[in-house]
Amino acid sequence: MADLMDDIADQVPALRRYALALTQDRDRADDLVQDCLERAIRKRRLWRPSGSLKSWLFKVMVNVNRNQVRRTDFARNSLPIEEVRDPARLSEQAPQVNRIALGQTAEALAKLPEDQKEVLTLVVLEGVSYREAAEILNIPQGTVMSRLSRARQNLTRLTEEGVEKTVSVRTVK
């Protein structure tokens, strides 16, 4: 059992990255990771060693997050938007990236419907195959692809809207 805890520990950094992408808020992300780990530890007997531990942990996280989103949906508008979406708070900046563009991507991502956000970040950040993503999200592989495609279309549209908004704000200034 000690070994299983070590194997779970190896997945924590990746779980934190996914949690941060889903919540875009460091405190909420770590709460999510903690809930996910506690649940995984509690339910560890349900995990069959034949499957992938990583997929199983991500599955647990997705379910915990879906529950939390459902519960707090109504409260989400009250989040301090500027603070939450400031990319500098999300991740220490790599030197050559365009901060404004990243901020717009972060803002656009935050506006995506939850089901599109969870599939897009899973595939892009974790590099899982569409088949693994289908298993983690408990949806058919065809749905993974259609959600992914909608997520990308929406991200493009929302980022463009973000750019227009920024430009008009700047003109006013």
Binding site: A21, V33, L37, E38, S91, V97, T105, Y130, S149, R152
Partner: protein, 264 residues
């Protein structure tokens, strides 16, 4: 699009961007993109999106993990919490037994007029005892886990000779973890167990209802454990847990609504 062969779909272009296109087709894809500026534009946009998402979040994997997110520590904390619980629960169970004797005596003196109530309440005590025994079990809280829920439901249905359904409390944050077959006064009983994120467990104890009479909710408690019981035309239900009466009632109402009143 061009008349060029082969033509790739948006899905395949997306697979290319995500590194999931069959390696044998990558060369043909790249040739196709060179000939199709619109497709190329799309692919570039998606590649940029992937790159931006990685730039936003990838550094998180290198960040030091706080101690409280180390599963080894979380597990230790959980175990020390559980070991604090157990002696206390044993004490509770002992006092419940005493109380049950007293209550049963009290009920019996009420006479035959109340016999219907008595059997319902006696069953609630059975359900509470079963809850106290199994819900604290670390190794085998259930006989069949929720992963095999279809098997669990069909097996218990057969043994109770009633069509059961898989009870669902996930909307109230209690997940089904499994169930078991138990003995009740007049035959078999089914026990389903649920757990919330904090590890709190509630059990649903079901027996056939031979009388066919229905009843609304009644509440029985023993020590820290409470039970809501009710009857539908074919089954007798007890929802048992160590929650507040209100919480327990919320869960019981949800379950009551899931069971069509006329289901046999």
């Amino acid at each position: 699009m061009s008349r060029q062969d082969p033509i790739f779909s948006d899905d395949e272009m997306m697979m290319y961007v995500d590194g999931q296109l069959d390696p044998d087709r990558v060369g043909a894809m790249e040739a196709f993109l060179k000939e199709n500026p619109d497709a190329m534009e799309k692919v570039r946009t998606w590649q940029q999106q992937n790159q931006d998402l990685k730039a936003l979040f990838d550094r998180e994997v290198d960040a030091p993990v706080p101690d409280y997110l180390d599963p080894r520590n979380l597990r230790k904390n959980r175990e020390s919490r559980m070991s604090l619980w157990r002696p206390e629960l044993r004490l509770v169970a002992a006092s419940i037994l005493l109380l049950a004797v007293g209550l049963a005596g009290g009920w019996m003196t009420r006479g035959i007029l109340a016999s219907q109530d008595f059997s319902a309440s006696a069953e609630a005590h059975l359900a509470i005892n079963a809850h106290d025994v199994y819900s604290v079990d670390k190794t085998h809280p259930v006989e069949v886990t929720a992963e095999q829920s279809q098997h669990l439901v069909s097996w218990l249905s057969k043994r109770l000779d009633r069509q059961l359904i898989e009870p669902d409390l996930s909307g109230l944050d209690f997940d089904l973890i499994g169930g078991r077959l138990l003995a009740a006064t007049n035959g078999a009983a089914a026990q389903f167990m649920f757990e919330d994120e904090k590890g709190e467990r509630v059990t649903l104890f079901i027996t056939p209802n031979p009388s066919g009479k229905t009843s609304s909710f009644a509440f029985v408690s023993q020590g820290k454990t409470g039970a809501f019981y009710w009857l539908n035309p074919s089954l007798s239900f007890n929802l048992v847990g160590n929650l507040s009466k209100d919480q327990l009632e919320g869960l019981a109402s949800k379950l009551q609504a899931q069971w069509p009143a006329g289901a046999i």
